[in-house]
Symmetry: C2
Subunit: 495 residues, 2 copies
């Protein structure tokens, strides 16, 4: 069955960046659109996003948040309120200036009806949601205010890449306001941990949780926390961020509350988000040279049944057998939900269909032909590797939940091992240079945050990713200036 | 309990338009934003939208469609491709002309980096999705192509009204391509019927299904079908539309397929959508002078339990009793889902809390105080009217599904009766004028589609709503020109 050649060309080893594009194409996840930097998320890619949304939405609601929806447009004057914030986003803003098109006299159209005030298509919503919060929050009794929004946002990126960096992307953005600094910090940490749990338990993607160095902070934030994941080329992907905004945006947007003594105080706010970028991470953590590999919890179809129809006389019997199997499997519960099973009855060659589902990353493929029908067996192939094997149909159905669990776990285990292999504690600058010449990965160093040294390292395409919480209290001699004391920080190339 | 005064002022009878705004405010559904014409959908309003989305999304998928996502921006040149289409939307387009903001020298910002080609924020996506379809469709084997998108769209409206007409709104837009005219027509009709079923079975809102007269067609469509609902002021709300686009957009976007003989043919396409406007319809069909009234199937909370705590010593016992009741109710299934129950433990006066849930439209309120605890009873209030009544707690839990069903049905029945009362078959123009002077509603007439007469009627704020399918074959003397033969058409004032 398995040809000598891999389904994806080039392979990861040959050209990682191109391999990534080809996996997305082979799995039919998304494509570039004629609109600069905007992508089209195709049905299989969108179905993965729907699975992600469903799980994240549940987790966000379980931590006490409610969803709402705020305007797509931000008046320019709102945007100007937080100085650091506007600096961070002004360079990549889509600006709406007119509200009408009229004939231009040569058969085309031109903008008309200029707006009194230009509108920015939201790159993020702190300032427009802050305006609402300033009206909704009056007293300490109105706090905490815990809101989430699912939305599209626009950042005018010059170099785009499907899912990882696109002009328009889909995301959720949480925005909360609190009566104390401690509570807001706690919230920012809580939501980062929600992201970690989601990454590990759903995406099977291990992540580092940590604090961003100042140079990598969200524009306007007091602290930015992030989860960082390692891709198969050893680069880091910032998979989710959570910001403690202090009173910066409360001041800019005038979010004040009367405390129990009647004293007016600015609230403390947070914001946190993950985006369709996670789909890019999913690809880069698990896909192989045959295409996508989906963790069962996020697979739009967890099992595909492929009927093998050689003689036309057998078709009805085999299809009935497949249908009975599908019904049996759909009754089973995996991680709280009925198992998602598809029978691929399309009139195409079996090998062609099988390869399509391999490339789309479906966790389990089941072949059912006359031989399987007669012996009451099924032939099973796991997408995460291993040989084809046969099982009595009853035994397969009985054990399918633990089989899916095993796949989910083995993907996480493999990713954890890979991350461990490509992570190294580094003591000297020479070691550091060698590490990145030699394939790279996550370099853990003590660093004294010398701006000049950081700049030099950045020029090599390596950035400080985060100061991991787990080792935040540790200090040691800086790998650049050994006489200075440094904190433990992770460096990596990134997207 | 019930005060002499209604919770909403003015009442429907006093000032319907203002009553509508006040119901939305009292139920905390949405508010106007500082961005012209854009609304903020607040958590309770958004939770209703989530219920609508979940039900509609399931129905759309069950009819074979898959979700995908296309760019927010449409290049101006795409937009120009379908002449009628662009005429229909050019007057209300948000136009993006720049991709950057820079300092203007006086402390503010101004647009910079003008785009080579202006982008339109999608008012609807036929032309941008059509571009994808032209690449995705090659052969008859690729058809039908059945895609749906959940998205925000922007139409620069001059006179806006929360939910009913806003500059930005949320919707789903289905877009399909077919190998024959018949199949595309069938699809457009099928999806209109999905909307009818949703309106009737979920929203408890009876609708007329029919064909739009030419003057009311979607720009670029060959036929527009719609469901029209009657609001409590007798006006019509176009609640959903489904368009048979013929080959118009296929020609404009070059969607061609090779038929089985290899001949290239333009596909036949459809599009169909419903929007957050439905929430406005829900308000105007069911709300009363005390606020919102939600049909159980769409209520974010179907039951609210209100603990009545007089003496502090009783609190723990009563709250435990409430929690046990909640757990019991959550085990019950209503329309395929666990019943949604909230215990309102906030530290506020019972009357205040009760009124809040009345205004928010929760179908069932349950009061539990020491008296109820001791007698193992609960006091029950239905939002759709009727007296408060008591039931043994076990009996209530046992019958709760049929109670919710009864509320759902009674709301639909009441709306059907109202619609019947305010609908009239009208034979003469004099009768027609009297009908609309006398409160109005749905006027059913035979009409010969005389443009001059239509214009005159339109100047009275009355528009032809649809030619109902149920009576499409009937003809009779035109109510304006009795010597001419007309078709049965419905007239109404509208939003």
């Amino acid at each position: 069955m398995k040809p000598l050649k891999n389904a994806i060309s080039p392979t990861r080893g040959e050209n990682y960046a191109e391999w990534y594009q080809q996996v997305i194409r082979a799995a039919d996840l998304a494509e570039n659109s004629p609109v600069r930097g905007c992508m089209i998320i195709k049905p299989w890619g969108y179905a993965i996003w729907e699975q992600m949304q469903a799980a994240l939405d549940r987790m966000i609601k379980e931590t006490g948040h409610v969803n709402a929806y705020f305007p797509l447009f931000i008046p320019k004057s709102f945007f100007e309120k937080e100085a650091t914030h506007v600096q961070g986003f002004a360079k990549e803003c889509a600006v709406v200036t007119h509200s009408r098109l009229v004939a231009n006299g040569s058969g085309g159209l031109m903008p008309a009806a200029p707006l009194e005030e230009e509108l920015i298509v939201r790159p993020t919503s702190e300032t427009i949601i802050g305006e609402s919060f300033s009206r909704w929050v009056q007293s300490y009794r109105d706090l905490p205010l815990l809101i989430n929004q699912w939305a599209n946002v626009v950042r005018w990126e010059m170099r785009t890449r499907l899912f990882l960096r696109t002009t328009e992307f889909l995301w959720q953005e949480g925005h909360t306001a609190h009566a104390s600094s401690e509570e807001a910090l706690e919230e920012a940490m809580r939501m980062l941990d929600v992201y970690r749990v989601f990454a590990e338990e759903y995406m099977a993607m291990p992540v580092l949780r940590g604090r961003k160095p100042e140079s990598e902070r969200f524009p306007g934030a007091v602290e930015t926390f992030a989860i960082e994941a390692m891709m198969q080329d050893g680069k880091a992907l910032q998979a989710g961020t959570s910001h403690f905004l202090g009173q910066n945006f409360a001041r800019a947007c005038n979010i004040q509350f009367a405390d129990p003594n009647g004293k007016m105080t600015y609230a403390w706010t947070t914001s946190w988000g993950v985006a369709t970028r996670l789909i890019g991470g999913l690809v880069m953590v698990h896909a192989d040279d045959d295409g996508l590999v989906l963790p069962p919890r996020l697979a739009p179809q967890q099992i595909v049944i492929l009927p093998i129809l050689h003689a036309s006389g057998e078709a009805r019997e085999i299809l009935n057998y497949c249908e009975a199997l599908r019904e049996q499997l759909c009754m089973k519960i995996f991680h709280g939900q009925p198992i998602r099973v598809l029978i691929d009855i399309r009139d195409r060659r079996g090998g062609e269909k099988s390869w399509e589902w391999i490339k789309k990353g479906v966790p389990i493929r089941v072949e059912v032909g006359m031989r399987e029908r007669q012996s009451e067996q099924v032939s099973i192939m796991r997408r995460d590797g291993g040989q084809k094997f046969s099982l009595p149909v009853g035994e397969f159905a009985e054990g399918v939940e633990s089989l899916l669990n095993d796949i989910q776990k083995s993907l996480l285990r493999r990713a954890i091992e890979f991350k461990a292999q490509k992570s190294m504690h580094i003591k000297t600058y020479a070691e550091f240079e060698n590490f990145f010449c030699d394939g790279g990965g996550f370099a853990e160093t003590f660093f004294s945050f010398d701006a000049e040294a950081e700049e030099k390292i950045r020029s090599m395409g390596i950035t400080p990713r985060c100061i991991p919480f787990a080792t935040e209290s540790q200090t040691g001699p800086c790998f650049v200036h050994p006489t200075r004391l440094g904190k433990l920080i992770i460096w990596a190339k990134t997207y």
